[in-house]
Symmetry: C2
Subunit: 409 residues, 2 copies
DNA sequence: AAATTTATTTTAAAGATCAAATTAAATCAA
DNA sequence: TTGATTTAATTTGATCTTTAAAATAAATTT
């Protein structure tokens, strides 16, 4: 029989791992023939036939026959491509930020199936308020997009703050007035499908891994700058979370002894130099035209710096040097193959201006081997929600793969 | 048959993983009965019987019958304990430092089988000189301890500096005059057994994992302070090495923008505040009695600080604050369960004085979950060599486990 | 000495994979 | 159009591995 028993956190059965591998290879490839799958997993065609037959029967994958037979095809029996069957599952991803909430629907293939956005009623809510609001928003989104709630196989939830993903716990979040909220279970109690929750930066990492620059990269790190500074660590294709589930707090890495005051109450955090509020705090002492929103004020400040305002320039200059320092530390510690600077705020090019990259490079240990690749990926707000949905997709995929022989009765 | 084929870096066979697990459980436990192994690996007693029979036949393990049958034993057939057979393999570990070289012999059970120390001929050697010296020293050690060289199944080598362990390459080391030396292969060419090489801090981590505070801990971090500052990262029971094999350069983490000059040529490295040379550099401006060796001068400085010398005290004070800052960063990034401060230099208690630990705690993100455990482990120079031998032991163990059915032909 | 208890081994059955043989589905060549 | 050729996928039979259940072993208890 399979390899050892499957109870508890025990070992996977033999077939189980095979199924997981095959599904993963198909997902990676988009579409791929059985014989190529066999090649990729170093298994025999016979095994692949057996496994894919199961997956086909369960509706997780499907054969993909192109309408127009490709001309100039080689002799021999043509390979028939297999692909994930999008209709197998529908997933929702929700990203909650201070002012807005966004929902994204993804089918099992990773195709976007709709999106929905709404305002937050107030910047910080109590736990019951937030749960009710999430529930309500998800139902509204389902209605608007035309997907019955019951159709969803899973919901991924991304929240800014300090999250223990495995336990579904929000230690602290700017959008919650309470601490230590078991948000996952609270929401799951109101919904008929499993709920998964994670730190928003980890979800960006997930999105990058599945749809973005991190595709096919085994170890990489994602850094985001928005309200705060976030980091997602991917090691060995999996998100690294630390023991308490709350590692990767790059933003609260100290870059200066007794430095600037951070909103976390400590001093010298990177965030206290580069996050929105840190820049605006310093801009307060400047004589800039007033703007209604923080976003607009930030734009004004950036424009002033670009136009040669020396004080404004100095604000960005210091921020970027601190950012470079923090980034160099990450490289020295992890030696990753790739660092992705992700998020909308990357439009402030001071963060990735050549001089910053140069500063990073000169602060990294010098050896005769290529430096890690640093890539910028600006993409919109939707990405966060998409990452949340992708997170749910992965979890549900894992669950599906394990459900074998269940319908034998 | 087993799970997929075994070619290249492909997947392990089914039995292969079983063997590896059983051996690992036995090693962890010291001695353990078959039925308990079955329990631990969530397998059946029958399987354990099969696997242990193989391992017994190959001489990798042995039954351990206590001379005195334990009184007050329960009814029923008594369980017979299995243990690693020490005589199965003999391993050597070598640690090369600036002034001394130490060799440690370990049997397959992890029992120390002898040690040997020698002076380095000069502080920095050329690659051929070092290889010849290592070869010579190992042979001398064998002679002294009475182990024929051919008896060794593997040699582990620990070198300070920047090492790419998988490739066996020394990018840079204070003991080598050249850069990018393929030291592993150079030494292996002169010896009849496999050679493994790693950064010395990783070897301390390995020693802690097998014999020290890291026993049974899945994720932990080891920090050492000696000539430089080193770090070993254990994630998921394995040493994390980064893509170029040279991650975990904690010592060159920047703790101050444009800070103190480091021997690596950059500014603001942690090492430039807390390593031996950094302290002595500052001590130079003090009026302290001269001492012949660096070691002695450091002792003098430390004593002066303890005796109330304000300037000396300030040197240590700053070093310890910087150290706390660096440590807090590690915790914020990794959220490890355990941090081990390891090495002889821990005798300077400023590094782990309560106030440093307090500073770390107050610089770490505050959430309602227990802080990582920080433990001090002072142990002698031999540990490094022991870690090197342990590294070789693990590698050889893995090789042994894979050699199955080889003697059937 | 028999009954009981627990550990280990043996046995027989069931999964899972793979090599080899077979079948399927195309192109190529006449 | 037909048969040869080629490549993909499936089927078959053998082998390996694990496991449940039965048998055996080795102790204690009665």
């Amino acid at each position: 029989m399979g390899q050892f028993s499957d109870k508890k956190g025990g070992l996977a059965t033999q077939r189980h791992t095979g199924r997981r591998q095959v599904l993963s290879v198909i997902r990676d490839a988009g579409q791929i023939a059985r014989i190529d799958i066999a090649d990729k997993i170093s298994g025999s065609p016979a095994t692949v036939t057996a496994i894919t037959a199961e997956l086909l029967a369960e509706g997780l994958i499907e054969e993909h026959t192109p309408e127009t037979p490709p001309s100039g095809s080689p002799r021999g029996r043509p390979r028939v491509a297999l692909k994930i069957r999008g209709a197998a599952h529908m997933l929702a991803g929700i990203k909650v930020a201070a002012h807005a909430i966004s929902v994204c629907f993804l089918d099992f293939e990773g195709q976007e199936a709709g999106q929905f956005e709404a305002e937050m009623p107030k910047p910080a809510l109590s736990a019951p308020e937030l749960v009710a609001f999430l529930d309500e928003t998800l139902r509204k989104a389902c209605e608007k997009i035309g997907v019955p709630l019951a159709r969803l196989s899973g919901v991924g939830l991304g929240v800014a703050g300090i999250i223990d993903a495995p336990r579904g716990l929000v230690y602290w979040s700017p959008i919650l007035t309470a601490r230590n909220v078991p948000l996952r279970d609270l929401l799951a109690a109101r919904l008929p499908m499993p709920v998964f929750i994670d730190n928003d930066a980890n979800l960006v990492a997930k999105a990058e891994q599945l749809f973005g620059e991190g595709k096919g990269v085994r170890d990489f790190i994602v850094v985001t700058i928005e309200q705060g500074v976030g980091m997602g660590i991917v090691i060995d294709n999996r998100i690294y979370r630390g023991t308490r589930g709350c590692g990767a707090e790059f933003g609260h890495t100290k870059v200066q002894l007794d430095g600037a005051l951070c909103r976390c109450g400590q001093r010298g955090c990177l965030e206290a130099y580069v996050a929105d509020y840190a820049l605006l705090r310093e801009a307060g002492t400047l004589n800039l035209p007033d703007s209604p929103t923080a976003h607009a004020r930030l734009d004004t400040l950036f424009q002033a710096a670009k136009d040669g305002d020396e004080a404004a320039g100095l604000i960005f200059h210091r921020a970027s040097r601190m950012f470079a320092l923090g980034l160099a530390n990450i490289i020295n510690i992890f030696d990753p193959a790739l660092i992705i600077l992700s998020g909308e705020r990357m439009k402030f090019d001071y963060f990735y201006a050549q001089e910053v990259l140069d500063a990073v490079k000169s602060s990294v240990l010098q050896i005769d081997a290529p430096l890690p690749d640093i890539r910028i990926h600006k993409w919109g707000d939707l990405m966060w929600a998409k990452g949340a949905a992708a997170y749910a997709m992965e979890e549900v995929s894992d669950m599906s793969v394990q459900e074998m022989g269940k319908d034998v009765g």
